[in-house]
């Protein structure tokens, strides 16, 4: 038996270590995605079954319907608005913690304060807006009693506004953590040197802090965009059924056992998410960023 070289042995060891991950990903990620792709090309028999007959009708139906375009537009609208809001809040919260809080222990404490709700149920955190935003909710009663308004504001709950509030509430943490990590690694002396050389605070922001936080921003954006694009729960509950997203429409299809149309819609959604993520990944080497 020929002795294996050291390099070959290292390869085998690495694969052995990675094998549990691969063993989970193959049947529970690769195979299901393939099943969905195959199902999207099958015919629907109308009784929850699929006929093994190749067709493009499911895709034709998707791209032909005006409803689909409205769904995609509304989902992308939610994604962009949520992304913008979480980015602005997340960036400034991280900036505040890293550059303005002088006591490092206090900064870490405040950072943990921001992360604790992440470990609690998303659904419950979403529901918790109901007593605040409802027609008889806290916000309305305070505004009414202060005389600022005379009619309860109807747009607060079960509206697109409520959907965005719930998203931002849940997802800002996904921006804060990576941006905080990126900013914490910026050498404070760089900022000082720039200031001493006559850079304004705006220049410091523009030429040092934003470029050096770019990787964190990219990582946070991946999480926020992929979660909003894949969500249907928040849209369904917080819009009170008034708005829909790509996945909520897909869920309605599944509920009436229309698998092939749902699968086709899922494939289109996957394609959009993959393109979005790929564009972001082009600007940043995530693997190097995380391992750094």
């Amino acid at each position: 038996m020929a002795a294996r070289t050291l390099a070959q042995r290292k390869q085998i060891t690495a694969w052995l270590y990675a094998s549990p991950l691969v063993i989970v990903l193959l049947p529970f990620f690769v195979a299901p995605i393939l099943v969905v792709i195959i199902a999207s090309f099958l015919e629907n028999d109308g009784f929850g079954g699929m006929v093994r007959h190749f067709t493009l009708a499911n895709y034709a139906a998707i791209f032909g319907a005006e409803l689909t375009w409205r769904l995609y537009l509304s989902t992308i609208k939610f994604a962009v608005l949520t992304w913008a809001a979480t980015l602005v809040i997340g960036f400034w919260v991280a900036y505040f913690l890293v550059f303005h809080v002088r006591n490092q222990l206090l900064a870490i404490g405040l950072f943990l304060l921001c992360t604790v709700p992440f470990w609690t149920s998303n659904i419950i955190r979403m529901i918790s807006w109901i007593p605040l935003l409802g027609k008889n909710g806290l916000v309305n009663s305070v505004l009414l009693s202060s005389g600022a308004i005379h009619q309860p504001l109807e747009f607060l709950l079960f509206s697109d506004f409520a959907v965005i509030v719930a998203y931002v509430h849940q997802l800002t943490i996904f921006m804060i953590v990576p941006i905080f990590n990126a900013m914490a690694r910026i050498d404070k002396r760089t900022v000082e040197a720039a200031r001493d050389a006559g850079a304004s605070r705006f220049d410091v922001m523009r030429f040092i802090i934003v470029p050096l936080s770019k990787n964190g921003i990219a990582l946070g954006s991946i999480f926020v965009l992929s979660i909003v694009m894949g969500d249907f729960f928040v849209v369904k509950v917080m819009s009170g059924g008034g708005s829909a997203s790509i996945v909520s429409a897909l869920f309605e299809d599944i509920a009436v056992l229309q698998y092939p149309p749902a699968a086709a819609s899922a494939v289109v959604l996957l394609a959009i998410v993959v393109i979005m993520i790929a564009l972001i990944l082009r600007t940043v080497d995530v693997r190097k960023e995380i391992a750094r």
Binding site: P32, T120, S141, F232
Partner: protein, 296 residues
Amino acid sequence: MSTAPVALSRSAMRARRRIAEGVEPKRPWTFWVLATLFAGYVLALYGPMLCIYVLSLQDIRGGLVFPMKGLSLHWFIDLFTQVRTGDVKGGFERSIVLAVLVTVLTVVGSFLAGLAFRQRFKGDGVVFYLMIGSLVAPGLVLGIGIGLLFQYLGIEATWYTSALGAHLSWTLPFGVLVMFAVMSRFDRAWEEAARDLGATRWQIIWMVVVPILAPGLVAVALFGFTLSYDEFSRSLQTSGSLNTLPLEIWSMTLNVTSPSLYALGTVTTIASFLIIGVCLGAIALIQKRRASRVAD
């Protein structure tokens, strides 16, 4: 033309002098703006949650909004005794067992994958991007795929088979990402030292790597547990006939319009906080023991 930079550096020098004299420089106006933003963010983060905890303590006359009506544990009793609110107790038990299973498998799997990714190996890029893909794929789509796959293979979908796999396809990549960050601070010289002293591969892992990475592994466990315990969209098509807790909550949000819903929120949050407390306590204990050992 050069007056502005000169003026700036003069002010910078003044700031330096103040620091040298032990006087903290005056905070810029942006500090107060951002401090207000931060306070607002924390308030918005915790405020609504506190509201439902308070509202869950109302008595039988209680409604979904303020003002509070009475003070009692009525809705907590209602939650666990009424049939109309669904099988909350069963869902709770299943979710805990599932989350524990997921946690154990996630910790072991991410730890090993973390070891693998320390060097480049053939196909590491493929594994990495599969992982990212699994992380960003819409949960419901993956759930549908797994549901159809099980149906096609003739295997019954249950919470401890298909839902377990569905959860792992999300918690494992997350855990591996955390391991990346944890491993980046691990010095390979420690391992080499152990090897030079004659330790076998398993001895190195058990007696050197695992103890050093222990706080990071606890963090992975915390991720694994809470991500699984809260997972909804991946469970929806994969849990079979018995519901996990998030699925129970989902059906309650659609049917139940009593403070029972808030009581459930309070109960699950208490469970979450217990887990967070246990994990943070474990990390603190490990660090403390380590510090005392160094002191000896």
